[in-house]
């Protein structure tokens, strides 16, 4: 008799998960099919399964497929990282870049262009990735000094300070070097189109590792959200749990922004929507956020191809125009959910 409420709840959540997964598949197919050249579904299928070298097959395999894959990758990574960072800082305003990851990646890329004259995208994304790691370790260390370990408040403040410092340095560098500015402005705007497909297998392991760590962090984050005392009384060590979460945020955000630019907005709004569907259980919230992130990013990308046909609008601006008003409406309609 007791199993009834628990079981029903779980079935309900599984159904939502299934729905989101189907929706993700839907936008994936749509993203391959829709564009300046509209490719019907049978065409998509034949291009993927037995390509014959037609122009249509070429568009699918060398343009649409990588673009869609990058969208799925970055959307999932940023959505999950956003849910993690909001859970760990207990701050609804936290985005995956809060812990210095985004500015760290940007600073390292700009610096590598400025000092070493790196011009190859495939080289400077590694600088970006390394910068993300260093910045996030610095924030975690600064947020933990003075005893007592990292708390939500010190993490957020340390993140804001480090990000501001790096942003100031970036502004200085790009004003001295137009080549660096040129890379930086496109990186800031964010893009999933026109990325080199060879990058995909290179960042994929990091994203997969990040996703795995995020899911492994979910039970710990659940008990942490009851307060540090309760978490400890349930046998959870607070420091390692935070460290695991931050490692995951860094891997996910670092790989996503290094390749696709500063699209951290996805990670800011998606968890709020996911939370409305899942409630505060991170074991569900995290997968929901990941799928919703992919849906939002690909959806915005597709919308950008439709509104400006035969040209297209970049995904960054579409995200702002679709996601921004949606976020504000959400904030206005509901009593703000305090974490």
């Amino acid at each position: 008799m007791t199993a009834v409420p628990l079981g029903a709840l779980r079935r309900h959540r599984l159904l939502i998960l299934l729905g989101l997964a189907l929706l993700t598949m839907g936008v994936t197919v749509a993203s391959i099919s829709i564009g300046a050249m509209r490719i019907p579904l049978p065409g998509v299928w034949s291009a993927l399964v037995h390509p014959t070298g037609t122009e249509q097959d070429d568009v699918v395999r060398s343009l649409r497929l990588p673009r869609t894959a990058f969208g799925l990758l970055a959307g999932t990574a940023l959505g999950m990282a956003g849910a993690l960072v909001q859970g760990h800082t207990r701050n609804p305003l936290a985005d995956p870049g809060l812990l210095g990851v985004t500015q760290g990646a940007a600073f390292a890329m700009v610096l590598s262009i400025f000092t070493l004259g790196v011009t190859d995208l495939r080289v400077y994304i590694w600088f970006g990735f390394a910068g993300a790691l260093v910045a996030s370790v610095a924030v975690f260390t600064l947020g933990s000094v003075g005893g007592g370990g990292a708390t939500p408040i010190t993490l957020a403040l340390a993140g804001a300070a480090v990000s501001t410092l790096l942003h100031g340095l970036i502004s200085g560098l790009v004003l001295l070097d137009q080549q660096a500015l040129n890379v930086y402005r496109f990186w800031q705007a964010g893009a999933i189109a026109g990325r080199d497909a060879r990058l995909l297998p290179q960042v994929l392991p990091f994203v997969l590792l990040g996703l795995f760590l995020a899911l492994a962090n979910a039970p710990g984050l659940n008990v942490l959200s009851l307060g540090e005392d309760v978490a400890r009384s349930l046998g959870r060590r607070v420091g390692p749990t935070r460290a695991l979460g931050i490692a995951s945020i860094t891997l996910l955000t670092g790989s996503a922004v290094a390749v696709c630019g500063a699209l951290a907005f996805v990670g800011l709004i998606v968890p709020h929507v996911a939370r409305a569907l899942s409630g505060p259980d991170h074991r569900w919230l995290l997968p929901y956020s990941g799928l919703l992130g992919a849906i939002l990013l690909l959806g915005a990308d597709i919308a950008g191809r439709i509104v400006a046909r035969p040209g297209e609008l970049e995904v960054g601006i579409m995200l702002a125009l679709i996601g921004g008003p949606f976020f504000i409406a959400l904030v206005r309609r509901r009593k703000p959910v305090r974490l």
């Binding site: 007791t2 039970p219 009851l226 307060g227 005392d229 009384s233 505060p280």
Partner: protein
């Protein structure tokens, strides 16, 4: 039955020492209530007993093992501690909360076993919350919410239960309800309970044993009738009171005599 012993504890926050040289044996005591004036170190002691606070010196022994050396997850299977006025995220349901009490028994490959299911159902049943299982915590009354938190600690399925002021913010009827529940936990299920309690008369009625604290030291400890004396109340609380026999339980009942003469004896503030 689980035993918990404190040896020469020195506790504090930073440079401020709250408890010094405290030893206490809580083995096989049934229900123990720690009483004392504000700021005497009751909650600090409880947090140290539940390894939430690391002692500056001294040891806490859980069944003979130094609690600081036992892996925290192992401790969590033997001892549950519920802090004062815990906070839950918005929208969390009662069932979700109680389920989280199973955390120490779960691992990444074993998320939800039949024993988890059983323990949660059992904890909900004991606290009478089965009907409210899928209600969000923020929609419940204060008494129901407190029962839900106790239910979470019960789902942890430990022999020892440490509770910090489980009756704060509750009206008298709900206080009785929670304390009756605690009483049953010991009587029917053999749990050992240690709680910090403010109300002396409720402590006397529901605890097998009282520990009276003053300025970070144990002033007296023993059965309620031994501890609650006119002299002790004057010494520990600076309270002028009469002790009569509780007409319901036959135990001691404290009747204060027109106010405290506490101007000189008031302990330092803060907790």
């Amino acid at each position: 039955m689980a035993s918990l012993t404190a040896r020469d504890l020195r506790l504090g926050y930073g440079d401020r020492i709250v408890v010094d040289g405290l030893s206490l044996d809580l083995g096989d005591a049934g229900v123990t209530a720690i009483i004392g004036p504000n700021g005497c170190g009751k909650s600090t002691l409880l947090r140290a007993l539940g390894r939430l606070l690391k002692p500056h010196a001294g040891r806490v022994l859980l069944d003979g093992d130094d609690i600081a050396k036992v892996p925290t997850r192992e401790v969590a299977k033997r001892l549950a501690i519920l802090p004062q006025a815990p906070q839950a995220p918005e929208g969390l349901t009662v069932a979700d909360l109680v389920t989280r009490g199973r955390h120490p028994h779960q691992s990444w490959y074993r998320q939800w076993s039949s024993s988890d299911e059983g323990a949660v159902a059992d904890a909900l049943a004991k606290t009478g919350l089965l009907e409210l299982a899928d209600r969000p915590l923020d929609e419940l009354s204060g008494g129901q919410r407190q029962r839900a938190w106790i239910s979470m600690a019960l789902a942890q399925d430990t022999g020892l239960l440490l509770l910090d002021e489980p009756t704060t913010f509750l009206d008298l009827a709900h206080q009785i309800e929670v304390l009756e529940l605690i009483r049953r936990l010991h009587a029917d299920h053999g749990r050992t309970v240690v709680m910090v309690l403010h109300d002396l008369n409720l402590a006397a009625r529901y605890a097998d044993r009282l520990v009276a604290m003053r300025d970070g030291r144990v002033a007296a400890s023993g059965a309620p009738a031994e501890v609650l004396t006119v002299e002790l109340l004057a010494e520990v609380f600076g309270l002028d009171a009469k002790i009569i026999t509780d007409p319901v339980s036959g135990g001691p009942l404290v009747v204060p005599l027109g106010g405290a003469r506490s101007a000189t004896a008031r302990p330092p503030d803060g907790s």
